[in-house]
């Protein structure tokens, strides 16, 4: 890509963007300084229960949700965040590291990221992180990002479909001490360390200019996430974090004794390392997290009680779908002054 982008062309592009809905190809408004090595991107991703498909079986009698009864999916807006990072890396060079906090099963979302082009996946897993609210979660993720080390961009989905809070992204930004751009729709300009990005403000949009590093929370309208690439699926489908090996072995060697299972686990671990298919796995000590800020003790907000939605209605009138039925209803509504 020619680093010496014509300045007039860039100005024209910028004025087009200001006046019309024009989506220019990325490289028309990116100016790469000669010698720049690209951008290091960290993407926070989450495995969530599919809350749009909750049936009766998912609700337990005490009103709580049986998470294990729900299929687990890749949080939709995080996929858009990943896509944004991949586009930056594809155009400008650099790296895309994805981080997730969760039980070992969450590695599935890390693999989904590798299938789409991410360079590295990191699992943060620790029982002591359980019951973390958004503040504790953002603390743990910010410690993980600091442990990853160098980053120019941190991308997050705007919100997760189980909590719907949209709080973790901004809270990570505050803990990293970097500016945030939430409700991100698209890049306007990326010029060395200076970023201009457009965000949705509800009744319109605005364009902000920040100096990197910055954290960006991405809307689902920002882009079309690419599908998994068949070649990368073949390459990475056997990637595992250490915590997953034990379970794989318990299934594969169901009748073996503990000694045999341990030996097999150790062998598989070595194989994964050799083939560079071992996902990084860190616990709270690895990321130097202060336990007081994690889990229940690090969570200011606590759930007092939970109730499942009860649908009842008093004063319900069933109206037959006939001329007469409808006319009687309209009559009532006019009489009580609701209509007319």
């Amino acid at each position: 890509m020619d680093p010496a982008i014509n300045l007039t062309k860039r100005r024209r592009a910028a004025s087009l963007l200001a006046h019309r809905e024009v989506k220019l190809p990325f490289n028309e408004y990116v100016n790469m300084e000669i010698g720049q090595l690209g951008y290091d991107c960290v993407v926070c991703v989450k495995q969530v229960p599919d809350t749009s498909n909750v049936t009766g079986e998912a609700m337990k009698d005490d009103g709580t949700v049986n998470r294990s009864a729900l299929p687990a999916i890749f949080n939709p807006e995080d996929l858009h965040a990943l896509e944004t990072a991949l586009e930056v890396r594809d155009r400008c060079g650099g790296t895309v590291t994805v981080v997730t906090m969760g039980p070992p099963a969450a590695c599935e979302v890390l693999r989904e990221c590798l299938y789409r082009g991410a360079d590295r996946g990191v699992l943060i897993t620790d029982r002591r992180a359980a019951a973390s609210d958004t503040l504790a979660t953002s603390y743990i993720l910010s410690q993980a990002i600091k442990t990853v080390g160098k980053y120019d961009f941190v991308f997050c989905g705007r919100q997760a479909i189980d909590g719907d809070t949209a709080q973790v992204g901004p809270q990570i930004a505050e803990k990293l001490g970097i500016p945030q751009i939430t409700y991100f729709e698209r890049f306007e300009e990326l010029d060395g360390r200076t970023l201009r990005a457009r965000r949705n403000v509800g009744n319109g949009w605005e364009v902000l200019e920040v100096r990197l590093p910055a954290l960006i929370t991405v809307l689902d309208t920002a882009n079309e996430p690419r599908p998994a690439a068949a070649r990368r699926v073949m390459q990475y489908k056997r990637s595992r974090a250490e915590a997953e090996i034990g379970r794989d072995v318990a299934v594969a060697l169901a009748d073996a004794n503990d000694g045999q299972k341990e030996a097999e686990s150790a062998r598989r671990l070595e194989q994964l390392k050799m083939k560079k298919l071992l996902l990084d796995q860190w616990d709270l000590d690895d990321i130097q997290a202060d336990l007081a800020w994690c889990g229940m003790s690090g969570s200011p907000t606590k759930v007092h009680r939970v109730q499942s939605i009860v649908l009842t209605k008093e004063g319900f009138t069933e109206v037959p779908p006939t001329d007469e039925g409808v006319r009687n209803m309209i009559h009532e509504l006019i009489e009580d002054r609701t209509l007319g």
């Binding site: 809270q171 907000t301 509504l333 609701t338």
Partner: protein
Amino acid sequence: MIEPNRQGEVWVFAEQEDESLNDVSLELCSKARELANQLKVKMGAVLIGSNVRELSYRLIAHGADRVYYVHDPKFENYRTLPYARVMCELITKHKPQIVLYGATPLGRDVAPRIASEMRAGLTADCTDLQIGEYKEPKTKEIHKDLLLQVRPAFGGNIIATIINYDRWPQMATVREGVMRMGEPDAKRQGEIVDEKVTINDFEDAVRLISRHREERKIDLKAARTIVAGGGGVGSKESFQLIHDLAGAVGGAVGASRAAIDSGFVDKAHQIGQTGTTVRPALYIACGISGAVQHRAGMEESAKIIAINSDKEAPIFSVAHYGIVGDLQKVIPLMIKAIKERA
């Protein structure tokens, strides 16, 4: 964080843009006034901007005892870091018990940043706020006069009550239309407290380059009657029936997310948790199944008529009148009945 206390005020972050207050801030003033009365403390509003001191009087009329007005030309347009800095300094200085924010893109941008810096609890998208007590399950210690923060969770399938008893202030965001805006009382007395907050270079570094506001084309919130169509309408052509019925009753046209996603009508008509929340005198739901996210946006309507060919549709659980039938046949019957009576 600040230590829990019993004399702190109940605050509202007053969102203003282009010298006018966002409706949600006034709705929150009414709620905050109620909470402050229950706690027997004062209610304050925080107003940040440039040359918008006049707006304080409106906040006072809606229930504020005090308006903390923070003026600086740098605050003319909202930016995350300066506004967060102001709120953190004022919270540290005045130690309110509760701070409420509108769950607008602005509120959802700034509130978590403040919560993170203050290491305080924040609950998003509350549908109800009450004062109550909480007993710790392990220690049996009772915490009185807490803010009970009620919100749907898990995709709207459960209602959770959240509390925060030790990392104050207790903060919550609330979407527009959820709390009822009270009548302003121009005779109410209150004071304006001018505060000064300086921001550093890092906080000043983000620049606003340009901004584009779209005119709100339809005012659903002000409509007395709304006729809404859902996925069951079937096509953009059939959606004309919705427009026709709306014309016959003199109402506004609404839609569920399914109808928007299918392209039957423009997004501006969307009613529901991610659209507009309405409480008209009459809401006619046509071909709308009644998913929780939609119900959240209209279940407070005074009277609800539901037309759906599926008798199990959840919309019937919130309706006053339910018609199980084909809307293509029922709507013309309704239009005819209305015209006959006119």
